[in-house]
């Protein structure tokens, strides 16, 4: 049988092993046993099933197979194999046979030895057993004696034992009864002493018994008494629970109530069910808090200030919620996730109502200017909510609170941006008034530089004030300042990008809008304002922007990965704005002077004018205005570079039309058909001068601005002159006027050659437009101009 046991777990037992079904188990086992037997007897069923891929077990030529047929094998061998192989196989076979013979002999010897030793052992065992039998007999008799004794002792003690048991039972019953009878007084005492816990425990113990025996009058009376006391107890507990303000050890109280309430209802519920009325009661109390908060919020403004409001909310509602949550968790911790979930839902619902109220209150605050109060209020609000937040992580109250704080912070930023914009516009209005005032009053108002300084400092102080106000949100002692939002996004995106960069953008846009809209017709914008804004923007480009941004970066340690607008972009924008404003200023001022010149040329009858005695008043006016502009620009912009010229340039006489040089200098080389004309002169002159870009962009200095204005004016004069026809004296008047302009305008421009060129061209054009061009003597012109 040893072989069968060894073969059992072998792979040979194959497919029979796998099925596990309970009903198929019995036939299975039988099959397995069959397989083992077969294996033992060398039948190959198991083998065939186990190794289907092996050589055919029925093959008669298989030497090791069960169906080996020597005849067939030999036949096959003889038929198939050559002689050499036959010989080989023969020797091989002989060798194998010999090896098998020797193996067999060894096995036989070994087995024989074992058989001999087994026979010896069996004989020895037979002797031993005979000895043991005797001893067992003796043991049996002894045991019988012992049993006999024992029975006799039991019989003797039986009687007493029964009596003792009975007495003990009576004693217990009596004690219980005594407890019951004493119960009402005990309860009363407990209630009086305030030992509610004890009282409720008693009541809990007695309740079942009283319930059972209530048909007996005496028990009935006890029960009634107990009920009255318990009701009173419950009443007291409820009372206490309702006004359970912080000093009261409310968790205990709540627990008592939680047990007491169902007592009154005579239903012993599961703890889970106990939770419901507890929360309902708590809800009632918290809702009362919410209502009082809402009443404070009120429809009308005289609500208490926001700090007080959040204090009330914090101590009343949030404190209450904390207590409820703590009590609940202590009481019902055993309920596991379901209970926690219930509490979380409870807290979430009430919390959201509370948040709605708080948000309404905060929205009322949004318009106000006092950030510190708001931040303190928010801080308290946030801080109070952190306790239940830790307790009720699932309710997400802390997250919601943080969100509210963030939202408020964002709105504050928006509010400050609006405030800054309004401040900027206010500054501009002030400047306008200041600019308009002196003209009315006729006396010197504050200078432009002073105005600029005022505007710049007031904007800067506004920015600083805003930054300081916003900075409160990130103060260390404020509980929410270490939230990721306030450390990262608030600083970079909110303050830096939203507030500061946004303000600079909007400032540039506001300034640029002055260039666009009223550009037609000179516009309602006073030119001085354009100039001032341009200088302001330029100052921003050179210093203020980087200063403000550095300030911001220092105050708000920007430490996140959000991309921020680089200083250079802002500077470029400011510079572009400044440039546009200045160009626009030049255009506007140029236009003013142009209009003056144009009117003066267009309205005069140049053919029948008298011989000039004076410089026309309009030219004086032009010079005056230009001087005024020069002063105005000089207040804000640096001088700039001008081309070095001879110091004597103001004394230069007109070369163009001095008659001595006019004729003969230029040989008629153009076309033979045409008579020589003076326009050649200007043509040739132009060959050597650069093209004048009239409305060209200006640089940030006084000379460039003035050059621009004068260019525009003189070009207008030129074009207007070309549209008119002049008499002799008309031409002379133009000559005088131009000389006068020449005398006074050269000092304003970068390259006085430009003024010469333009004025020369004016005079030349006037000469062309004159049928009788007799120029005035330069000396006379000079005299007139000096006199005028």
């Amino acid at each position: 049988m040893a072989a069968a046991a060894a073969a059992g777990p072998s792979p040979g037992s194959g497919p029979g092993d796998s099925p596990e079904g309970p009903e198929g188990e019995a036939p299975e086992r039988r099959r397995k046993a069959h397989g083992m037997l077969k294996l033992y007897y060398g039948l190959s069923e198991g083998e065939a099933a186990g190794r289907p891929a092996g050589p055919d077990p029925l093959d008669p030529t298989d030497l090791n197979g069960a169906h080996f047929d020597p005849e067939v094998y030999l036949d096959k061998l003889r038929r198939e194999c050559p002689l050499a192989q036959l010989m080989d196989s023969e020797t091989d076979m002989v060798r194998q046979i010999r090896a098998l013979d020797s193996d067999m002999q060894t096995l036989v010897y070994e087995n024989y030895n074992k058989f001999i030793s087994a026979t010896d052992t069996i004989r020895k065992m037979k002797n031993d057993f005979r000895k043991m039998e005797d001893e067992m007999d003796r043991l049996a008799t002894n045991m019988a004696v012992i049993t006999d004794f024992s029975a006799r002792i039991s019989a003797t003690l039986q009687d007493r034992h029964e009596r003792i048991t009975k007495l003990a039972g009576v004693h217990a019953l009596l004690r219980k009864l005594q407890f019951l009878f004493e119960l009402p007084s005990r309860l009363t005492k407990c209630v009086e002493l305030g030992a509610y816990g004890q009282a409720v425990r008693y009541q809990g113990r007695a309740q079942a018994v009283l319930q059972q025996y209530q048909h007996l009058p005496s028990f009935r009376a006890i029960q009634d008494d107990c009920q009255v006391i318990t009701a009173r107890l419950a009443q007291q507990l409820r009372q206490r629970f309702r006004c359970a303000l912080p000093p009261a050890p409310s968790p205990i109280c709540a627990r008592l109530l939680a047990v007491a309430l169902p007592c009154v209802c005579f239903c012993v519920e599961l703890l889970l069910a106990l939770g419901e009325p507890f929360l309902a009661h708590a809800r009632g109390r918290l809702e009362k808090e919410l209502r009082s908060l809402e009443a404070e919020l009120g429809p009308s403004p005289p609500a208490p200030d926001v700090l007080e409001f959040t204090d009330h909310g914090g101590s009343g509602f949030v404190g209450g919620l904390c207590q409820v949550a703590a009590a609940y968790q202590e009481l019902f911790a055993a309920q596991g996730p379901a209970g926690a979930e219930k509490l979380a839902a409870f807290a979430r619902e009430l919390g959201s109502r509370y948040f709605a109220l708080v948000e309404r209150r905060l929205a009322q605050e949004q318009g106000g200017g006092d950030n510190s109060l708001l931040v303190r209020a928010l801080d308290r609000f946030h801080r109070r909510l952190r306790a239940p937040g830790a307790l009720l992580a699932a309710a997400g109250l802390a997250d919601a609170a943080t969100e509210i704080v963030e939202r408020v912070a964002r709105e504050r930023l928006g509010h400050h941006l609006q405030g800054l914009r309004a401040a900027f516009l206010g500054c501009l209005t002030d400047v306008r008034q200041a600019l308009a005032a002196p003209r009315v009053a006729g006396k010197e108002g504050p200078g432009l530089a002073e105005l600029l300084a005022n505007v710049a400092s007031s904007i800067l102080s506004h920015i600083k004030a805003s930054l300081a106000a916003v900075h409160l949100f990130t103060a260390k002692e404020v509980s929410f300042s270490n939230k990721p939002y306030f450390r990262g996004e608030f600083c970079s995106q909110g303050v830096r990008e939203g507030l500061i960069v946004g303000f600079i953008h909007s400032m540039c846009q506001t300034a640029q809008s002055f260039c666009d809209s009223p550009g037609e017709k000179g516009g309602a914008t006073p030119p001085a304002l354009l100039l001032l804004l341009s200088r302001l923007c330029l100052d921003y480009e050179t210093a203020t922007i980087s200063y403000i941004l550095t300030l911001t970066d220092e105050q708000f340690l920007v430490q996140d990965q959000f991309p921020v607008t680089p200083v250079s972009t802002l500077c470029a924008e400011a510079r572009e704005t400044a440039r546009r404003l200045l160009t626009h200023y030049v255009k506007v001022q140029g236009l003013v002077i142009s209009q003056m010149l144009r009117k003066s040329v267009e309205t005069r009858d140049w053919l029948s004018t008298l011989e000039p005695r004076n410089v026309r008043a309009v030219m004086k006016r032009v010079v005056e205005d230009t001087t005024a502009i020069d002063v105005q620009v000089g207040l804000l912009y640096e001088e700039g570079v001008r081309k070095a010229q001879s110091s004597d340039s103001s004394k230069r006489t007109f070369s163009v039309y001095s008659s001595s040089r006019q004729q003969g200098r230029y040989a008629p080389s153009y076309t033979p058909s045409a008579p020589m004309d003076t326009n050649l002169l200007s043509n040739i002159q132009k060959l050597f001068s650069e093209r004048i870009d009239v409305f060209s962009p200006v640089e940030f200095n006084k000379v460039s601005v003035l050059t621009g204005i004068i260019k525009i004016s003189l070009k207008t004069l030129l074009e207007c002159v070309r549209l008119r026809t002049f008499g002799r004296f008309g031409l002379q008047q133009v000559q005088v006027d131009c000389h006068f302009l020449q005398l006074y305008l050269w000092r304003f421009v970068a390259d006085e050659e430009l003024v010469h060129l333009l004025l020369d061209e004016v005079v030349a054009s006037a000469a062309l437009r004159c049928p009788d061009p007799v120029p005035m003597e330069p000396s006379v012109v000079e005299v007139i101009c000096e006199r005028g």
Partner: protein
């Protein structure tokens, strides 16, 4: 042959007046009027030989006075109208007259320039547009597409419609209207719309553009403050009936839809001084030419508001090419408005620019110093528009 090189021609006098010979559609011919107070003024008939890049000129004497404005009849090659200054008794009056040029010059001659100067011929006066009652003539415009019978002239604040009769030898004032208002109102320029059966004229005075119906001589629209300053010139889009362009002293060129006069459709601000002239190309209205006293001529491509905003549309008859065209069209669909070229050949203020009436790809510009420059639309753009 250098295709895009400009051809320059110099006049001896100052000049402001330039017009193509409107009735001539084969040869490229421009008429230029000079301004001189001391010498006899001339009208130069400038023929441009496109193939050889050669200019031929003929000179006509215009003894009546310096020419401020010139316009050629759209019907008769030999007829033109000028506005000229007459100076008398220390008073200047601008008059207008219709003239006929000698027969042999009508279709241009190919005499060498040297000979022509010696044989300067005179214009034959057809009729005066009598303006004694109305003041200075600012400009004269012919009815486009018409038979050359109807002329509008602008005199101070009057707009006068003339009927010329008996082969233009007599001009009768058919109707007139005048502008009433504060101050001295003065028309600066006017154009006759080629649309609406030629019943509309637009005028400019000060900063205002006005449209007139020639049948009733009543105002049909008015664009107040079209420009910040004086409006110098205007032109109608030849292909879009409600569109017109204007330019003025605020250096801007504005494009208007006369159905919505509150704001321009588009504004260009490329010049750095007053823009004196704006002209639509007669066939391809995206090409807009402007001349300015900053001595520059700018050719702009205003595709977005042209009649062909998506490029040239394929005609129905070349169906075979349609496949190729379609793919091409796709690629050129997002066309942008842009400045095609800035021409800086002038050294003085450019007071007149105009397209040739014969070759839509060719235009002339005239500066005050008497330099006439003939330029072509860049070849690449031409092919881009055509193909």
């Amino acid at each position: 042959m250098e295709d895009d090189a400009p051809v320059i021609y110099g006049l001896e006098f100052q000049a402001r007046a330039l017009t193509p010979q409107t009735a001539e559609t084969d040869a490229i011919r421009f008429l230029v009027g000079t301004q001189s107070l001391k010498y006899d003024n001339q009208i130069h008939i400038i023929d441009f030989d496109d193939e050889n890049n050669i200019i031929n000129k003929n000179v006509l004497l215009h003894q009546a006075g310096e020419i401020w404005h010139i316009s050629a009849s759209p019907a008769d090659r030999g007829v033109l109208a000028t506005c000229y200054n007459r100076t008398s008794d220390s008073k200047v009056l601008t008059c207008a007259a219709v003239w006929r040029m000698p027969k042999e010059l009508e279709s241009g001659s190919h005499e060498s320039p040297d000979d022509s100067s010696s044989t300067a011929q005179t214009l034959e006066l057809l009729c005066h547009l009598d303006n004694t009652a109305h003041g200075n003539m600012a400009c004269v415009v012919w009815e486009p597409m018409g038979d050359g019978k109807k002329i509008i002239s602008l005199a101070d604040n009057h707009i006068l419609l003339w009927d010329s009769q008996e082969s233009s030898s007599q001009a009768v004032l058919a109707s007139s209207a005048s502008l009433e208002g504060k101050g001295q109102l003065k028309f600066t320029s006017g154009r006759w719309s080629p649309h609406h059966n030629c019943t509309q004229v637009a005028t400019a005075n000060d900063t205002t553009l006005r449209g007139w119906d020639t049948r009733s001589m009543s105002q049909i629209y008015c664009i107040e403050n079209a420009h910040g300053q004086l409006v110098r010139d205007l032109d109608f889009n030849p292909n879009k009936q409600y569109y017109l362009a204007s330019c003025g002293d605020d250096c801007k060129v504005k494009f208007w839809d006369t159905r919505n006069v509150t704001e321009p459709v588009k504004t260009l601000e490329e010049h750095s001084h007053w823009v004196w002239n704006v002209r639509y190309n007669h066939s391809h209205d995206q090409l807009v030419l402007t001349g300015s006293s900053d001595s520059r001529v700018i050719l702009s491509n205003m595709v977005s508001i042209s009649s062909e905003p998506f490029g040239h549309l394929v005609d129905d008859d070349d169906i075979s090419d349609q496949e190729d065209h379609r793919s091409e069209e796709k690629s050129k669909e997002p066309l942008q408005d842009n400045v095609i070229a800035t021409y800086e050949e002038h050294e003085d203020s450019v007071y007149a620019v105009d397209w040739s009436s014969a070759d839509p790809w060719l235009f002339a510009s005239l500066s005050y110093d008497g330099r006439l420059v003939i330029n072509r639309v860049p070849r690449a753009l031409k092919y881009h528009i055509l193909l």
